[in-house]
């Protein structure tokens, strides 16, 4: 007999026991589903952010869901030693040379977008420190970010989704977004005068997000950094009109003549400077140090170059650099991971993923 006690236990108690046997696992399953977001379709998740990028620019298998069009570069970083007093990161030790694999790109999810379609360029870098730690950063060529939170970023993406009828974003929705988000004002003021540059080499690139350095004395310092180009625009240099792909050709031509250089400037915050709001620049008079020089000496196509399989997650940081309370940083980490998983799954031809398209389509997405 499997259950010798059954006959002696009152029916009500047995029913109660069976209820617990079933209800406890069910409650666990429910809690799991709730934590995993399956019961809250309105929660902003990395998946929904990346789905929105795809809604705006289409699905281009194998490519990044944002900053899809770009080129790999390689070189090294020579530390000046000036930042060593503020951060114990090995990359800042005096005289230290650190190899770098980087990527220049333009924002947007369309890998065939014309270079002149946006005034923004980006630089992503992976510093491979001698101690095995890494520093990854993605920077944009603008002094402020349009929004401060992932929720606002998502709203901006939604407002920019092309209308199926026209193939272009609905100006009314964009206007409504900007009206509801006054924090975009500084970015819009910059964008009014910004022109698409003719070269990746002449742009400066800003971290925008704030980070925290920890020095040898254990002191913490809120910082932002930027890359300032050595190359300057020849007067009147403008992006060639009517050409979709000039940035890559320009980069190749410049590198054929020699390496390109940027100075890495690190700005230290004063107490009270906002670290959680990438829409606000810090005042110009903040202490700024030159941490070293980035030297870029080669480039490779992104389809086969070493940057292809790197996720430039800005929260991958060495000892001595940490994330701040900037809410964009964890959102970037989570979203980049989802984008990275989608594109590597497509490269691996896993079942259920979109197939990798090797040649550009004639009718590029708007």
């Amino acid at each position: 007999m499997p259950d010798p006690h059954a006959s002696t236990v009152p029916l009500a108690r047995r029913a109660g026991a069976w209820f617990l046997v079933l209800a406890l696992p069910a409650a666990c399953a429910l809690a799991f589903a709730w934590v995993g977001g399956w019961l809250s379709p309105q929660r902003l998740t990395p998946r929904r952010l990346i789905d929105q990028f795809q809604a705006n620019a289409g699905v281009h298998p194998g490519y990044r869901r944002n900053h899809a069009k770009g080129v790999c570069v390689a070189g090294h970083f020579d530390s000046s030693g000036e930042a060593a007093a503020y951060s114990v990161a090995q990359v800042f030790a005096p005289g230290q040379r650190t190899p770098v694999v980087g990527r220049f790109a333009i924002p947007g999810g369309n890998p065939y977008a014309p270079d002149g379609s946006v005034p923004i360029r980006s630089m992503a870098l992976r510093f491979a420190l001698a101690n095995g730690q890494q520093w990854r950063t993605g920077m944009n060529s603008m002094p402020v970010f349009p929004v401060a939170t992932p929720q606002a970023f998502y709203a901006q993406l939604q407002a920019g989704q092309p209308d199926p009828a026209t193939g272009k974003p609905d100006p009314k929705k964009l206007a409504a977004f900007f009206a509801a988000h006054p924090e975009t004002a500084a970015f819009r003021a910059w964008a009014k005068t910004a022109k698409p540059s003719a070269s990746f080499a002449t742009d400066g690139y800003w971290s925008l997000d704030a980070f925290v350095f920890t020095g040898p004395d254990g002191q913490r310092h809120a910082v932002r950094w930027r890359m300032v180009p050595e190359a300057v625009d020849a007067t009147g240099a403008a992006a060639p009109a009517g050409q979709p792909d000039y940035l890559d050709a320009d980069l190749r031509q410049r590198l054929a003549q020699g390496p390109l250089r940027w100075k890495l400037l690190v700005t230290l915050a004063n107490p009270g400077d906002p670290t959680n709001d990438a829409t606000k620049a810090w005042p110009d008079d903040r202490r700024t140090i030159t941490a070293g020089t980035l030297v870029v000496d080669s480039e490779q196509a992104q389809d086969s170059g070493p940057c292809r399989d790197i996720n430039y997650d800005p929260t991958v940081l060495p000892d001595g650099i940490a994330i701040s309370d900037d809410p964009l940083l964890p959102a970037r980490s989570a979203a980049y991971a989802d984008s990275y998983l989608r594109r590597t799954s497509e490269e691996a031809h896993l079942p259920g993923t979109a197939r990798v398209d090797t040649k550009p389509q004639a009718e590029a997405h708007p």
Binding site: P2, P25, A335
Partner: protein, 181 residues
């Protein structure tokens, strides 16, 4: 039988409950962090990696403890099919508590990430970097986690069934105290 007390050895019981809490926490932390874009994502991930590696070390210790202290036998009157289910699910739980951290570690290695357990503690890579390996291992991490969670649900239901319905001393053998029989 080597085990005459009818109880799991004290170290086995301590490890069981400690690891039950840790593994359950890991499952919730895991699904919570990949569904979040807030600060939670960052601090959950900071817990996830070192705790996962701690589970790997504890699992090895636990198997060693098990080799030295055979578990008490299941009740003799338990139907053979239930005995089989009990043994199979226990081995599946052991396999998963070792596989999960190894897959997590291997997938970060394959993705080319430094496997950081803290500000400066870094584990060496255990898998060559490559997008195909990363994608496969990253999906495997999810699917094995779902299998682990389902096995846990069945395990919980079975433990309660023994404790509340059959009242055959199996739950007591892991909780401790005296085994009535």
């Amino acid at each position: 039988m080597n085990n005459t007390t009818g109880l799991f050895a004290l170290p086995a019981r301590i490890l069981h409950w400690l690891m039950a809490a840790a593994i359950l926490a890991m499952l919730f932390i895991g699904v919570g962090m990949v569904a979040s874009v807030s600060e939670r994502h960052a601090w959950l991930l900071r817990i996830h990696k070192p705790l996962g590696i701690a589970i790997l070390l504890l699992a090895v210790l636990r198997l060693a403890v098990r080799l030295r202290n055979p578990p008490p036998p299941l009740p003799a009157d338990l139907p053979a099919i239930q005995k089989l289910a009990a043994h199979a699910s226990h081995w599946l739980l052991y396999a998963l508590m070792i596989a999960m951290p190894l897959v997590g570690w291997a997938m970060l290695s394959a993705g080319g990430y430094p496997v950081m357990l803290g500000d400066s503690l870094r584990l060496p890579p255990i898998f060559p970097a490559g997008p195909v390996a990363f994608a496969v291992l990253r999906h495997l991490h999810t699917w094995l986690a779902m299998l682990l969670f389902l096995t846990f649900l069945a395990h919980l239901g079975a433990a309660l069934y023994h404790g509340l319905i059959r009242r055959d001393g199996v739950l007591a053998s892991m909780v401790g105290g005296s085994r009535k029989s």
